[in-house]
């Protein structure tokens, strides 16, 4: 793949720009939608959990932050990248059926383009979050390097899973729908709207160990460590995520290569 893709990185770039430019072409608010969506989500959760359920956010250590909105936002933005990435790549090849059955090009470019476009909008969201954090007192600018590292790690994880989902969805269209259910389950199994300590208190140490097998749990915690607490994430957490990312990339690439040749006729 690396060789074939470097030949066609022009194509990937073009597809990314098509994705980005075509996306909000006819809407009055245009690109603002990509910010309004997460904003609406944050507002909804913030109202439900901090006003209705009166959930107490954990205190940032060492930042001393104590804000449910910031706590939520630092988990929700990575989640959106994850869920959007998987949904987008699962549908990507099927959406481009006419292109794939008429022109030859490395098929992975379609998945890469989808994720590339998503990475751009997600990076903007992160940038907005960083601004909000700085304004509200978390001076996270020195941590941007670590943030970028986590971001790259997450993209690798999403790409691996996305490659797998995109081709299997061509053969079984159910993948797309199963994914919707799966993501809903994982959303609640990941400490996005609640702190992980909450789970530990409720279920005890043994189940908590199982709970932490979810790489997304580690990833979201690491993001929070950087953005909310303002400290280095645990090396074990980052290492665990990296392991998953590497494994998924490997498996995803293999599966993709295996199923790629017959894509045009199966679509």
């Amino acid at each position: 793949m690396p060789v074939a893709l470097s030949e066609h990185n022009e194509l990937t770039r073009s597809l990314v720009s098509r994705e980005l430019r075509g996306q909000y072409k006819r809407s009055a608010l245009g690109w603002f939608w990509s910010l309004l969506n997460p904003l609406a989500m944050v507002a909804t959760y913030a109202i439900v959990f901090s006003l209705v359920f009166r959930a107490a956010p954990p205190v940032g250590d060492p930042s001393g932050r104590h804000s449910y909105v910031l706590f939520l936002i630092t988990g929700l933005i990575p989640w959106n990248l994850f869920a959007g990435g998987l949904n987008g790549s699962a549908a990507s090849l099927v959406d481009q059926a006419s292109l794939i059955s008429k022109v030859y090009f490395p098929r992975a470019a379609v998945v890469l383009a989808k994720l590339g476009a998503l990475a751009v909008t997600s990076a903007i969201e992160f940038a907005v979050v960083v601004v909000v954090l700085v304004v509200s007192g978390n001076f996270v600018l020195p941590w941007l390097g670590v943030l970028a590292g986590l971001f790259a790690l997450q993209l690798a994880l999403v790409l691996g899973l996305g490659l797998m989902l995109s081709v299997t969805n061509v053969y079984f269209r159910d993948v797309q729908y199963l994914l919707g259910i799966g993501l809903q389950v994982v959303f609640y199994l990941t400490p996005i709207i609640y702190p992980p300590s909450f789970v530990r208190e409720q279920v005890g140490d043994r189940l908590y160990f199982l709970y932490r097998l979810n790489p997304l749990e580690r990833l979201v915690e690491s993001y929070r460590n950087v953005l909310y607490d303002m400290r280095f994430p645990a090396l074990a957490d980052v290492g665990y995520v990296a392991l998953w990312a590497a494994a998924m990339l490997f498996v995803g690439y293999r599966v993709f290569r295996r199923l790629e040749p017959r894509l045009a006729e199966e679509l």
Binding site: E10, G22, K25, S98, K102, F105, D174, R262, A264
Partner: protein, 401 residues
């Protein structure tokens, strides 16, 4: 010169699913095995396409010609065998694939160019050529969804042909746009050919194939039947041909499967007598005598008149004229009567043929089998091939002629 494309023992298998909805439920119910039939669209096909040739692929529907083209374009991967191509390959399978309707023509040129494997710098260099060739003027900066279908296709074609591939694969897209645009396309193809590029054409139009191609391959049910000159192969394709020189004129040819035969053709004058020459402006009848071994619900009879220099003057058939008499076994004749023969005096050849209702299967075609002469008559014109039957009127030097 080497070969641009080498096809070596290529087989392609398709799966025909009985239930096309690929759902997990149905897969689980069949314990993991999808129920499908396999069928070989291509079976052990091998041949080479020399560099710089225009190469045609012909065959009936389902013969595998389009599948083979898609294999050459790397859209399909063959199960067995190998296809080696030399140089940049561009496939014209459908025009404007990958156009984004919300983006402008210009933006789509970059997108489409990238899909066809061009770098941004290359596209920028060719941008003016592409826009000129497509001839869509100021519309280039408006979203493509506002284009007429003609503009859409012209832009798609213009991009594909300006990619300057070493090998161009074309599937039935030659007939796009109006006549002017088609002429431009033909000129561009000629340029590609004289520039030593290799062109592979799949077409149903045998006319196109025989005009464009240096070599033709005939596929039959996924197997390679033969490769050869267009004339040879096309004659082969059109039936279990008996093609031979016919008695009659020097140019005479006769081909077809002969279940129904044209036994003789005649030119008759007003009184119904067979003649060798007929005056211009007189009534004439072309008569086909046939003998049928089979019954035909919808036969198609055709008559053709060629000028002796080879120009086809007229070629009416019963289908176009809406006259389709059913044909019983036995002998008979059919007439094509012209009330006033408007041919300019000279020598002409008459052809007759009988085909099936779709005009695809030739039972018997006798090409330029009878020579007849047109003598001076009324109107007394002498130049050209046909008289349009007009009159000059108006004032010349102040007087009426």
């Amino acid at each position: 010169m080497g070969s641009a494309i080498t096809i070596d023992g290529v087989s392609k298998r398709f799966r025909l699913y009985h239930e096309r909805n690929q759902s997990l439920k149905s897969t689980l119910m069949r314990r993991g095995r999808a129920r499908f039939e396999e069928f070989w669209a291509l079976r052990d096909v091998s041949f080479e396409i020399p560099e710089g040739q225009t190469f045609g692929l012909i065959g009936h529907n389902g013969s595998g010609k389009s599948t083979l083209l898609k294999c050459m374009a790397r859209i399909y991967t063959p199960e067995q065998g190998e296809i080696t191509t030399r140089g940049r390959v561009s496939a014209l399978l459908e025009l404007g694939t990958g156009f984004h309707p919300e983006l402008s023509g210009r933006e789509n040129i970059f997108l489409n160019g990238a899909i066809l494997g061009l770098r941004k710098a290359d596209i920028e260099r060719k941008l003016d050529d592409i826009i000129d060739f497509a001839d869509i003027g100021a519309h280039i900066d408006t979203p493509i969804k506002n284009y007429s279908s003609g503009m859409y296709v012209r832009l798609g074609f213009s991009i594909a042909i300006n990619v300057e591939p070493d090998i161009l694969l074309v599937d039935e897209v030659l007939a796009v746009g109006d006549e002017g645009f088609q002429r431009k396309c033909a000129a561009r193809f000629e340029e590609l050919r004289s520039g030593g590029r290799t062109v592979v054409v799949v077409s149903h139009s045998l006319n196109t194939i025989s005009m464009l191609c240096d070599t033709v391959a005939l596929l039959d049910h996924g197997r390679l039947d033969r490769v050869g000159s267009p004339k040879q192969v096309i004659e082969d394709y059109l039936g279990n041909w008996v093609a031979e020189r016919d008695e009659g004129t020097e140019e005479s040819m006769r081909w077809g499967t002969r279940e129904v035969r044209i036994e003789a053709v005649e030119v008759l004058d007003e009184s119904g007598r067979p003649v060798e020459s007929i005056p211009m402006g007189a009534s004439a009848t072309f008569r086909l005598h046939y003998a049928a071994d089979i019954e035909l619900a919808r036969p198609l009879f055709t008559v053709a008149v060629h000028h002796v220099d080879g120009t086809l003057v007229s070629n009416p058939n019963t289908a176009e004229l809406g006259q389709v008499p059913p044909l019983a076994r036995g002998r008979g004749s059919i007439d094509y009567t012209v009330p006033s023969l408007r041919l300019i005096p000279g020598a002409y050849d008459l052809s007759g043929g009988v085909l099936d209702g779709e005009g695809t299967h030739v039972y018997d075609r006798r090409h330029r089998v009878l020579r007849f002469h047109v003598e001076r008559g009324h109107p007394d014109e002498l130049s050209g091939i046909v008289s349009l039957g007009g009159r000059f009127e108006g004032e010349i030097y102040g007087g009426t002629p």
